[in-house]
């Protein structure tokens, strides 16, 4: 498993993909951060966080689109599948590598917080809550990306497909505000990844939401494993 993890991380930096991800992420998050805090003369970062979570839609697929699709296209999945490594640890290694890249970049973007105190008092609990939510939502989205990548042989399809699913998640959150029926709303908000993080933005560590995000991640990783294994029976 460690071998695949190391290989994946290395691949991010031997291909332009890793650099592209870091550059795009920092550019988008930097711009959003400037507009939502410095320009509004506020030290409240929950606005930044709420916009960024939509910014993930085009960015996260960059990390995950290649993971399985490219292996299948280049037929390198044969060496992975015929090596003494279980499919589960293979999927997990790839997920972990993408998560490492993602978390590293998010942590790097924490540099933005440094000039904040000069704009007013910073609510550290709120900032920390937003950061945790950012990581949790990202983790969840990465698992979706990995899952879509197992479905196809083309990285581009995987990228667009992941964006589609993430957009759907975001769309559900928006539709939720338009629906009158309470029953429908509660169902939609239950499956909507975007309606779960609110407590975090107030600096409250929401265990239910944490468990929710981790569960969604586990479900999509599990589905990825099933898809890879099912392919052997095709």
């Amino acid at each position: 498993m460690l071998a695949i993890y190391k290989k994946e991380l290395k691949t991010y930096f031997t291909t332009p993909l890793g650099y592209a991800f870091i550059a795009v992420f920092l550019a988008v998050s930097g711009a959003v951060f400037c507009i939502s805090t410095y320009q509004l003369q506020t030290s409240d970062i929950s606005g930044y966080f709420q916009i960024m979570i939509f910014g993930y839609i085009p960015i996260v697929p960059l990390l995950t689109m290649r993971s399985f699709a490219e292996e299948r296209r280049a037929k390198t999945d044969q060496i992975l599948m015929t090596s003494p490594v279980s499919v589960g640890s293979m999927v997990f290694a790839k997920f972990l590598a993408a998560l490492t890249m993602f978390a590293g970049t998010v942590l790097l973007s924490c540099l933005y917080y440094l000039p904040m105190p000069s704009y007013g008092e910073v609510n550290t609990a709120k900032a920390a809550g937003c950061l945790i939510a950012m990581l949790l939502v990202g983790t969840c989205f990465i698992s979706v990306g990995i899952f879509v990548s197992t479905l196809t042989e083309s990285s581009v399809t995987a990228c667009v497909g992941t964006m589609g699913i993430l957009l759907l998640f975001a769309g559900l959150g928006l539709i939720n505000n338009l629906v009158d029926s309470y029953a429908v709303r509660s169902v939609i908000s239950w499956i909507s990844v975007y309606s779960r993080y609110y407590y975090f933005t107030y600096g409250i560590f929401d265990i239910a939401a944490t468990i929710y995000y981790i569960s969604v991640t586990v479900i999509f990783l599990f589905l990825s494993v099933r898809i890879c294994e099912r392919r052997r029976y095709a």
Binding site: L2, A3, I4, K6, K7, K10, T11, T14, T15, A74, K75, T76, D77, Q78, I79, L80, M81, T82, S83, P84, V85, S86, R232, Y233, A234
Partner: protein, 315 residues
């Protein structure tokens, strides 16, 4: 070493493999032969655990590939039809990755050095795989299969796309490997199995049509003996009198001729020696036999014969 029993693989409605059984002994080099689409790659992918079977069992050194895949996979080195190479790695990085992937316990540097030497990729170790020529890529693919020194090595068409010199090198390499490993290689190049393999398994449309030692394969197929005979005299008369000899099943003219003689291809029943009756029959008519030899039917003939009968019986 490898035991395959009643292996069947169905893709949709197509039987890629249909009740295939054979065993490979330790230290044997077995050639897996068949026309394109016969099921060679499918069989190899199942043995290596890349695909699952619809039914049947595969055991490697007594370990069931489906029940204990991780243990079985440790015993197998596999070169798929298209070498599974990461284009953006250097050869050294790639082999290092495979070493870790296979959880190899041997001395890392020594082991990889040794494999590079054997496969003659020492001089390209620091180059990116995407910049290598086809021949070198194939050899890196072979090197990858050798890592961890697995007792069983499976090559799917190892010499495809190589130049003649490289083909000879790779064949020598496989022959050497066969001294210490059990090797299965698939190919549709007949001379390859002839020169490398101890045994030949011929597969057609998912079924095994022959499984014999390389030197016996000709006899296994041919029902009787075939002679090429050069006889002087008019063609039609000679043909007629040849057909009258008891034991002769078929006479053809091969088209070769010298001034007044033609060469005939005579097939005879199994267990009947027609050479003496042939001599007497011809001498009685005063037609000198100026050449007589047992025809060596080539592997190509055998192959065509076997795969064609397979097709006919399938219909």
């Amino acid at each position: 070493m490898i035991e395959i029993k009643n292996l069947t693989k169905v893709f949709g409605r197509k039987h890629a493999l249909d009740d295939v059984s054979f065993t490979v002994e330790k230290g044997e080099i077995v050639g897996f032969l068949g026309p394109n689409g016969a099921g060679k790659s499918t069989a190899m992918n199942i043995i290596t655990g890349y695909l699952s079977s619809t039914s049947g069992t595969v055991k490697v050194a007594g370990i069931d590939v489906f029940e204990d895949p991780d243990e079985a996979k440790k015993l197998i080195g596999f070169l798929p039809e298209q070498p599974p190479l990461y284009q953006d790695m250097t050869v050294s990085e790639y082999l290092g990755f495979v070493y870790e992937l296979k959880k190899c316990k041997l001395n890392r540097k020594k082991h990889i050095d040794e494999i590079c030497k054997v496969t003659k990729i020492d001089d390209v170790r620091n180059r990116l795989i995407k910049n290598l020529s086809k021949g070198y890529r194939q050899r890196v693919g072979i090197a990858q299969a050798l890592i961890g020194n697995p007792p069983v090595i499976i090559f799917d068409e190892p010499t495809v796309g190589l130049d003649p010199k490289q083909i000879i090198e790779i064949r020598n390499l496989i022959r050497n490997l066969g001294k210490t490993h059990t090797v299965i290689l698939s190919t549709h190049i007949l001379s390859e199995v002839n020169s490398v393999c101890d045994r030949i398994v011929i597969i057609n449309e998912g079924r095994i049509v022959a499984d014999e030692k390389t030197e016996n394969i000709a006899n296994a197929v041919r029902k009787g003996t075939v002679y090429n005979v050069k006889i002087c005299g008019p063609q039609r008369d000679v043909m007629n009198s040849l057909r009258e000899i008891s034991g002769v099943t078929r006479v053809d003219v091969t088209g070769e001729r010298e001034i007044d003689s033609y060469t005939y291809r005579i097939e005879s029943q199994q267990g009947v020696d027609i050479r003496k009756p042939l001599f007497y029959a011809m001498s009685k008519q005063g037609r000198p036999i100026i050449g007589l030899e047992a025809a060596q039917s080539s592997l190509e003939d055998i192959f065509v014969q076997l795969t064609e009968t397979g097709e006919r019986s399938a219909k």
